[in-house]
Symmetry: C2
Subunit: 408 residues, 2 copies
């Protein structure tokens, strides 16, 4: 079950990036479970990783190699089927062995290969099958490999996620293309989420990292399926420089804003794509909180609603249960909240105000507002001018089934 | 579904307290849904209420009357079937009307009646049926009414909760008896939980309030079913003074510690009883965190585990999924956590250490540890001497079904 169209949109190639997806037999025989990115010389790389203290071995090694290569990796090696997390020191040895295999076959320095893993936690990474599959991955690299890669990184996802934008600035055309995976264990501060976004623009690395940090904060860090944060999250932004523009190094340059807009569009499309494919998701819910004193208090209210199992089961039942919504707002911990000023809307229908059901509201309106599979819950706090939105799903039988049956 | 024995234990009467449960027809015809406590003159009352900003009308009025009566209420009026929450100003008028009815028939001041409600949010409280039932409630008051009251306050609970302790101090015998309701919307800082505990000891009110605050903090505030906090929570501790002991006013008095122990036993039994009857509960899980630098960081880890839907669905599946447990520990936000020192036990079986599965651990051991319906998850942080425990349940299909079907 997932919300919205299943089709992967056209993913435009990004000059300077070639991709391959091959079947290494990591968990499911025959399934394409190993993805390789090749990055042109001179590509700048920005990345953010999970903040979970139990971070996986590939996260540790990717961070290490990113630094050692001065943010100029040449290959990204991504496997699904095994997270190589909770594997201690042997897990790090395994990650190094896989990376070394790419370096040896490609004839480049080992520090320029970044590893990423997703799948079962706590099982030893099957190193030999991965090593054995590296030559065919190298042989299969192609600029048109984005769709295959989008499929090759999935775990419990029911469909691939990708988004691609082309834009023109000062007569030069540019492209931004991204793919992502992740369906459960999704919450702010990164999720079991892997995301790779590339542009052919030339961007100075420090600016690229700032841009990524700011955009992750308003996209991937605004989604939640179940409040869990994984051990393996990573989001990578690559700038190959093949567009041959003068190196972008300032927010004042003409290219900055259109590029940022394009990357933002890709980040938000991918983030929403993760929620739409959330485990057991039957609803795509935007929680919009307005009129706050600060963005952080708006986020506090939005996430309290989005994480509430009682709200989420009501969403699953298409029940306009505004009482549970008010209760969630009330426990979000806002100082001096005047509940009589709070207004609550479902898809533009006013359902509660003055601490109770709105006089104009009818159950028929509520049932109608809850029927679609895309719902906006809007809270007006009426105590300031700040706003924030998060995206989430309902809590269904399928969520329980998937997570009771699947050994993460 | 619920964990542990169904039987209500013997609830010893508390001299000075008489109770009645009658059918007012609030929601389900014929069901006993209205409970009245009569408290002897001179009874001291301590209480804690929900911190939810959207607190219900009866909470507002009970707070007000507690103050107006100088913490010496004479009646507690409790209805189930309707929470009188999210009802705005009309809800407060309704609560006052019910309370006034008790005062009029009993011939006491209106400020000495405290109202409590639980049930559906956002529906008008049916005042007339409650008023009509007050005379028969007054007529039915009896010292033996505890079991009937324990049943009369339930909502989605599958069974009544009560606990009773007798003890002797300096030749005088005392009793502490308590009842509670609550099965969902349960988390720290009070839940959709109503709890009434009474003793015949004479206790000075300020000391009684301190004792209640301290004991709620290590009992009701240590349980969680779904992380939601309700609009109506209340916990009341009554001291009727009918044991005729000299008024207890100091922690140094001989009676203090044995009384505190008895009240603590009742609070913890009731709190655990709520979890054992948690919505859809198939497991009763103690999360014990040791070796922390502070109690608060132990609680942080314990609640992160207890709230994780991924951990809870694994518990439902009896899956010893230590990877999800490590991931929860890792995202609890502890500064400078050395994951290599953390040890994880399931029912005394060491399952993970050094950031990975313990060498001694086998899947057979794990499956065996997860099979019982009472499970202890123990985390050894090995960075200090503080400890904390919380109690929780698994997340089952039944939890989703109950909350998707039930209009709170």
């Amino acid at each position: 079950m997932a919300v919205g169209p299943d089709d992967l949109p056209t993913l435009h190639p990004v000059p300077g990036v070639r991709l391959a997806a091959v079947a290494a037999g990591i968990k499911t025989p025959g399934r394409k479970d190993l993805v390789l990115f090749e990055l042109a010389q001179g590509t700048r790389c920005a990345a953010v990783f999970t903040r979970n203290a139990f971070c996986a071995a590939p996260v540790t090694l990717a961070r290490e190699n990113l630094q050692a290569s001065e943010n100029a990796p040449r290959y990204l090696l991504i496997n699904t089927g095994n997270a190589n997390a909770g594997t201690g020191e042997p897990g790090l040895v395994a990650a190094r062995a896989c990376v070394a295999s790419v370096a040896r076959h490609a004839g480049i320095d080992v520090s320029t290969v970044l590893p990423f893993s997703t799948g079962v936690i706590g099982e030893p990474l099957p190193v030999v099958p991965i090593q054995d599959a590296v030559p065919s991955a190298l042989a299969g690299l192609a600029e048109e490999g984005w769709a295959a890669a989008a499929n090759g990184i999935l775990t419990t996802d029911t469909r691939p996620k990708g988004h691609s934008v082309r834009f023109t600035c000062e007569g030069q055309s540019y492209v931004v293309t991204g793919i992502a995976k992740g369906a459960g264990m999704i919450r702010p501060n990164m999720a079991t989420m892997l995301s790779y976004i590339a542009t052919d623009a030339a961007v100075e690395q420090a600016l690229l990292q700032e841009m990524l940090g700011e955009l992750v904060d308003i996209s991937f860090n605004r989604i939640t399926v179940d409040g869990d944060t994984s051990t393996n999250d990573a989001c990578v932004l690559l700038a190959t420089g093949r567009a041959d523009n003068p190196m972008l190094a300032s927010r004042e340059a003409a290219l900055y804003q259109p590029l940022r807009n394009a990357v933002e569009e890709v980040c938000i499309a991918l983030a929403q794509g993760l929620v739409r494919d959330g485990e057991g998701a039957g609803k795509f819910v935007t929680v919009q909180v307005n009129g706050g004193r600060s963005e952080s208090e708006c986020l506090e209210v939005a996430f309290t609603i989005a994480h509430s199992p009682l709200v989420k089961t009501a969403l699953f039942a298409s029940d306009p249960n505004w009482g549970r919504l008010l209760a969630a707002i009330g426990r979000a911990g806002l100082a001096e909240l005047d509940v009589a000023r709070v207004q609550l809307y479902l898809n533009e229908i006013l359902i509660a105000e003055n601490g109770c059901r709105a006089a104009s509201y009818t159950e028929e309106q509520g049932a109608k507002a809850m029927a679609p599979d895309e719902i906006v819950v809007r809270v007006e706090l009426d105590r300031g001018t700040r706003t924030a939105a998060v995206w989430t799903t309902d809590l269904s039988y399928d969520y329980v089934r998937i997570n009771a049956e699947y050994r993460t």
